[in-house]
Amino acid sequence: MTRSILAGLTEFALTALVIGLVILAVLVPLALSQPDPLEVLRLFVLGPFGTIRHMGNILEAATPTMMTGLAATIIFRAGMFNLGVEGSFFLGGLAAAATAVLLPLTGFVATPAAILVGALVGSLACIVPGYLRVRFGASEMVNSLVLNFAFLFAGVYVLNYVLRDPNAGALMSYKLPGDFTLDRLLQGTRLHTGVIIAFVACLLGGIWLYGTRSGLNVRIVGSSPGFASHLGLASSKLLMQAQIAGGLIAGMAGAIEVLGLYSRFSWTGLPGHGWTGITVAILARENPFLVIPAALFLAYLQVGGDMLARNLDVPSEIVGLVTAAIMLAVTAAAIFRHPAFLRLIRDIKGQEQGA
């Protein structure tokens, strides 16, 4: 038992090392271009922990990506490369705003109702490509990629012709009524109760995937379809369950983001939290419990980047580069499936070498 924990730590250490090297590789040349290179590194690495407000920023930035990361995790675990999470996030935000603007709800039912509608409508962007794959065998990857944009323009249409406030200067919705907001958690930050929902969702997602029968069956279908069919599992049904669950979570994430942070809905492009969620899921090795630290880590990088942008003349986009490089590094088979590394892990576990 201790040996397998040790082996797990070794893998974690290698991942951390790779990520550290990637960050340094991007950051060091940048730092050297500045008058005070050490200040760049200090701000980026330690800055996010400097004040409560900055730490609040990390949690705030991690809230949507925890949920989209969880959604992507569930979908990937079922063996599908459905990239509809981005579309679901957008639709969820839109639908929640539409509920707030159009429905005369008040009191404590208002916010939950808007989130529920957001989740339901948002889930469409994951369900449609998933269904087309399960029913007709059409590539869920390509379909989700293009349909994300179809849903975007459908949403922009609704924004422009249904929700638009003609008195506002730009293309944005009417103000969301005060009953449709998430409460502030911490004065001086924009942190709202959504972060709690995100934490709870990841924990529940982990419990579902690892602690329930249907979660187990989804993982079996996703990792070995042939075994699943010999077991007589209802593969199509399980695959759809995972797409629906993922879509609902991603839609809910969008709803929470809009209700928690904005007074009007004004997205006219895909916000990108779905893509980040995919990175989070990959970084978390498709484990819902690890989605929490993975999302927090990426959010920490984001806040570090923002601090560079604010205090020095360094654009925060540097973080996008770091994130992309991390995504490639942690999935590189050449590193994590390297024979030498696998041998090391086996030696640590001290297992027999059989046929």
Partner: protein, 514 residues
């Protein structure tokens, strides 16, 4: 070199003490030595895993020997060099064709050595070359047809033409008849004889003794990675060759059956399947298995075993005939129905069909136990109970593992297989299909698995044991059926006198006794 001076005398290829040990420790070939005479048809015979394909990979330049030498025209050569086969005029017809389905016949044949005109393929020249090849070797195919629209026999012709397209003087054919019908086989043999008469050397790999005898002059028999002998076919009779292929007649201890009058559990009545793939095709199979009976299916791989398993697990449905399990009609039953009716399945293919590599031992051990109240509380899994159950399984089946949370593929093959057996045999199954259950498994684990299969039968299971390992077959089976080309060609009671050599003629398609 195709234009190198022909040594009129002397073998075209000589193997001198060739051995091959793979990095994972598997010994595929030990000290193999024999010659292939120029201009002859030379057959290589042996069971699955005897080392035939390794030998061919070495000769075709895909692998290099760990020890020993390969001589071509009397000179030692390094086989694993780029384009080795092309340089020495060696062509190979693979058992699984290496044709690109979306390309035309001509494109497939010229692929890799296209005739060019400036930057373009010289298509008229290419077509001319192919037409010329088809005429020269009397292998008629439409050079413009898309390859995936052709029949299997026509695709094989393309494969042969491709192998002959580069000044080939040694042609290797790996189990070329497996996918052909009898008249197609006859036509293929005629073409091969013509080629031989024109000076080609042909190396013919086969399981089927009558084909070897019909075609070849000399045969080399391999068994367990060693050359048993090389002999002109005129000088040996079938019995001798069969004995060479099958090995010594050492008797094995046999299973003792408790009851012979137990009720029939599984009954197949004239079951056939339709499929393009011979491995999925069975024809007119009737068999019945009683409780406490182990019926062994012998036969070379691809004789219809996969079709039989498909029908008996609900993944395929018979095109005709009926299947009954414990008096219920299962002809149209789907996979979940079979599981519910008490099917257990122990396949060699541990990660694609028996389990899932990426999940933990615990996940694998409880897969498919949906609704088991001891392991489940509503939709939730009882972690404590599961851990206890899995630890019990690990102890019962002597699985060597770090913990229940380990990934299945972190175990050795034998230990992974033991864990899967523990799961499958847990609920006293009515029918157990053991499909090459100990392939790739160490000796100790195999012995344990044999014991458990025997035990399952004693507990009342009907057992269908599909195996290429004749030792295993004779140890366990009460009755032996031999499958050949999707048909049962022999139905024999297993008794002390039954030896691998006695099964040989049926497996090699020489005799029928059913």
């Amino acid at each position: 070199m195709s234009n190198s001076p022909h040594l009129a005398e002397g073998p075209i290829v000589s193997f001198r003490g060739v051995s091959k040990t793979y990095p994972n420790g598997t010994v595929a070939l030990t000290d193999a030595s024999f010659d292939i005479r120029r201009g002859s048809i030379h057959a290589i015979c042996g069971e699955n895993g005897a080392g035939k394909s390794t030998l061919m990979k070495i000769l075709f330049g895909l692998e290099s020997p760990s020890a020993g030498q390969v001589l071509i025209d009397g000179a030692a050569v390094d086989t694993a060099t780029p384009d080795f086969a092309g340089k020495h005029g060696i062509g190979m017809v693979h058992q699984h064709f290496s044709l690109v389905p979306i390309l035309t016949v001509t494109e497939n044949i010229i692929l890799g050595h296209e005739p060019r005109r400036s930057i373009f393929i010289d298509r008229s020249k290419a077509r001319r070359q192919v037409v010329e090849l088809t005429q020269r070797f009397d292998l008629a195919v439409d050079p413009d047809a898309r390859t995936d629209t052709l029949s299997v026999a026509a695709q094989q012709k393309v494969e042969i033409l491709k192998a002959l397209s580069r000044d080939t003087r040694l042609l290797i054919l790996d189990e070329p008849t497996a996918v052909l019908s009898p008249p197609e086989i006859e036509e293929l043999f005629n073409r091969l004889r013509d080629l031989c008469a024109a000076g080609m050397t042909i190396l013919f790999i086969s399981h089927k003794l009558h084909e070897v005898r019909a075609l070849a002059e000399t045969v080399t028999v391999l068994r367990a990675g060693r050359v048993v002998g090389t002999t002109p076919l005129a000088e040996v009779d079938d019995t001798t060759i069969t004995r060479m292929v099958m090995g010594r007649d050492v008797d094995v201890p046999r299973r003792q059956r408790q009851r012979t009058d137990a009720p029939v559990v599984l009954e197949l009545d004239r079951v056939s399947t339709r499929s393009r793939d011979p491995a999925d095709r069975i024809e007119d199979i009737s068999l019945s298995i009683r409780a406490d009976e182990i019926v062994g299916i012998a036969g070379v791989d691809g004789s219809g075993q996969r079709g039989l398993v498909g029908v008996l697990s609900g993944l395929m449905h018979p095109a005709s005939g009926s299947v009954r399990l414990a008096d219920a009609d299962m002809s149209r039953a789907a996979a979940p129905d079979w599981r519910k009716a008490g099917l257990a399945y122990l396949p060699a293919d541990r990660y694609a069909r028996g389990g899932t590599a990426a999940l933990s031992l615990a996940d694998n051990a409880i897969a498919g136990t949906d609704g088991d109240k001891a392991l489940q509380w509503g939709p939730f899994l009882r972690r404590g109970a599961i851990r206890k159950r899995v630890q019990q399984m690990i102890a019962d089946y002597a699985v060597r593992a770090g913990g229940t949370g380990e990934r299945l593929d972190s175990l050795s093959g034998g230990n992974a297989q033991k864990l899967i057996a523990a799961r499958e045999l847990a609920g006293s199954p009515k029918l157990l299909i053991a499909d090459q259950p100990t392939r790739g498994v160490d000796v100790a684990a195999a012995a344990l698995l044999h014991g458990r299969i025997d035990l399952a039968a004693r507990d009342g299971a009907a057992v269908l044991l599909i195996t290429a390992d004749l030792d295993e077959l004779l140890r366990l089976a009460d009755r032996v059926l031999v499958l050949f080309n999707g048909k049962i060609v022999a139905d024999l009671q297993n008794h002390a006198g039954l030896t691998p050599a006695a099964l040989g003629p049926y497996m090699l398609g020489l005799e029928t006794a059913a």
